[in-house]
Symmetry: C2
Subunit: 338 residues, 2 copies
């Protein structure tokens, strides 16, 4: 049996924390004009990227992110023992088609926009558990494929309310290893499905915020840490509204999140100038922010302790049209320089 | 570090094989008229099951399967450390809504119709790895919700070609534990995405067969076993056409699958009298066959060694409409009485 210690109900502390040996972010044009533009490996100037459809373009972003992360780690696809990935498209086709040429044993995950943290969590378990030495974790999203699937045809030019968010275009991939140089995944806190009755698909931040708050509180209780333990705490894509709800909910439980907490949706874009309303969203929002920006800050020791908490809204258009509320989930990954 | 031995490239042999301490199958009306009707915990007489939509009914099947499996193990939801699950609906809403009331830390997986084997594989890793003592794995499908999502409105009454299969209605759930009585998951073989260029969404068996064959060959190579090691080898939902392709492909590699191999799609329904054409399909096809029938045969020692290999087609309607071929995947779970 593993010497891994499980701390508390939802948190696993790894005995031999897996190392993030490389990370790559491939960003779309709007992301490439945002505040994090200098941190991406590739900025694609045209959303379709020479493909015949937005869905095929999304798969290309993912394949490129994986191949770039592998190149940076001097690894070939055949050296990756498992790849964990998923995305927002129906039946996760961004991932299924994006990874099909790689011939890596594949574990599909679905956590909506929490997928980057979910896939990293599973890959870390797989390595610490002794099942593999080298795994990859990946996700993607694409504004155009998401918009037409979840909302309206782009040609319709629908008005977006101030609470709406902007689905990021791009893909992020990390390579995890049982050894090597880089920050480590020291523990993970796996979330529960939370549904507080929000039914407005243009207010996802509010739908997901209770799940993020629940995972944070559980993480702090399980580990005995408080928010000040971390240099930076991020959520995935709660945006302005969801972020303020999280701060309020944590305050009610006695945790001060006002000092070192931000949301990737407010970091990836400049909300004042880039017309993204309440902020960025989508699987790629947290993936690009982590695999581009945060990983480099960790690597250069500008930050040494991050709690990366990606958040997902688990509805579909069908369920929203049937009047159902929107369940949320949040998975937290603690990443440290040790 | 775990003492788990990894055997070969895609197979994990567990050092302390997780025990399947309970299983439950909740079946729809057509499944309840089929050859396995005596093995289900519940047979629901009406597809809508008192809900307002087929999607909500599918979620109810899943919730009922989980609650039944927990009852049979004398466990409450709060005693399950992680639940692994997914389904075929867009954004896996059968699972997201079906599990939302249970408040169990949730790891969403997507493997299309391979989901039962995928969720069992991940739950087994989680227990053997020392991260949990008790986990559940679940999946569902529903003929009506799948038909309207993937093919045509039911009211249209479209003709089905002979190669078409019939999506099973129901849900299956297993509870895995680090100890207790029952058959064990002794090893798992995780599949790769395989795409041989099949573009006919009414011939899924042919699309998935190469993935099943690849996983079988890898399993036999990794473990040193041959087909005769098992009392029974099953695939998930290849149907008549896919099954014959697998037998041919394995024969070309020197493995005789003619003696002890069957497909859950040919076991769940009577293809001669139930108008299912090439056989059953859907996540629930393999889930009901395993959680109902096969688990009871294992428990009563009528069978002692099963290779349960669920198969998934990883396309979406969008990708098929764009002319893309259908990638497949297959995950194998070896289940033994020891």
């Amino acid at each position: 049996m593993s010497k891994t210690k499980k701390k508390g109900k939802q948190t696993v502390q790894f005995a031999k924390p897996p190392v993030i040996i490389s990370a790559a972010g491939v960003a779309g044009p709007k992301e490439g004009e945002g505040p994090l533009r200098q941190y991406f490996d590739t900025i694609v100037q045209e959303s379709m990227w020479g493909e015949e459809s937005w869905e095929k373009a999304e798969s290309k972003f993912m394949e490129q992110a994986v191949r770039t992360a592998l190149d940076k780690a001097n690894l070939s696809p055949g050296q990756i023992e498992y790849i964990f990935g998923g995305d927002l498209l129906n039946q996760c086709v961004g991932t299924n088609y994006g990874l099909r040429s790689l011939e890596i044993p594949f574990i599909g995950v679905y956590g909506a926009c929490s997928t980057m943290a979910l896939s990293m969590s599973m890959a870390a378990m797989c390595i610490d558990g002794g099942y593999a030495d080298t795994c990859a974790a990946v996700t993607s999203s694409h504004f155009c494929s998401a918009e037409r699937q979840f909302r309206f045809p782009l040609e319709y030019g629908g008005q977006r309310p101030p609470s709406a968010q902007w689905t990021a275009t791009g893909s992020g991939c990390v390579v995890l290893s049982s050894g090597g140089d880089g920050p480590v995944i020291d523990c993970i806190t796996t979330g529960k499905i939370m549904d507080k009755g929000i039914t407005d698909a243009n207010n996802m931040g509010a739908a997901m915020a209770p799940a993020a708050a629940d995972t944070f509180i559980r993480h702090f209780q399980d580990t005995g840490r408080d928010p000040a333990y971390y240099d930076l705490i991020v959520t995935g894509d709660l945006g302005k509204i969801g972020k303020s709800i999280v701060i309020d909910m944590l305050s009610e439980s006695g945790y001060d999140m006002t000092k070192n907490y931000n949301d990737c949706g407010l970091m990836l874009f400049d909300c004042d100038t880039q017309d993204v309303h309440s902020g960025g969203s989508g699987c790629a929002c947290s993936a690009l922010t982590f695999c581009g920006y945060l990983y480099q800050l960790l690597h250069s020791k500008k930050l040494n302790r991050i709690l990366f908490t990606a958040t997902g809204a688990l509805m579909s258009t069908t369920m929203v049209q049937q009047g159902e509320s929107i369940p949320g989930i949040a998975h937290a990954v603690s990443i440290l320089n040790v």
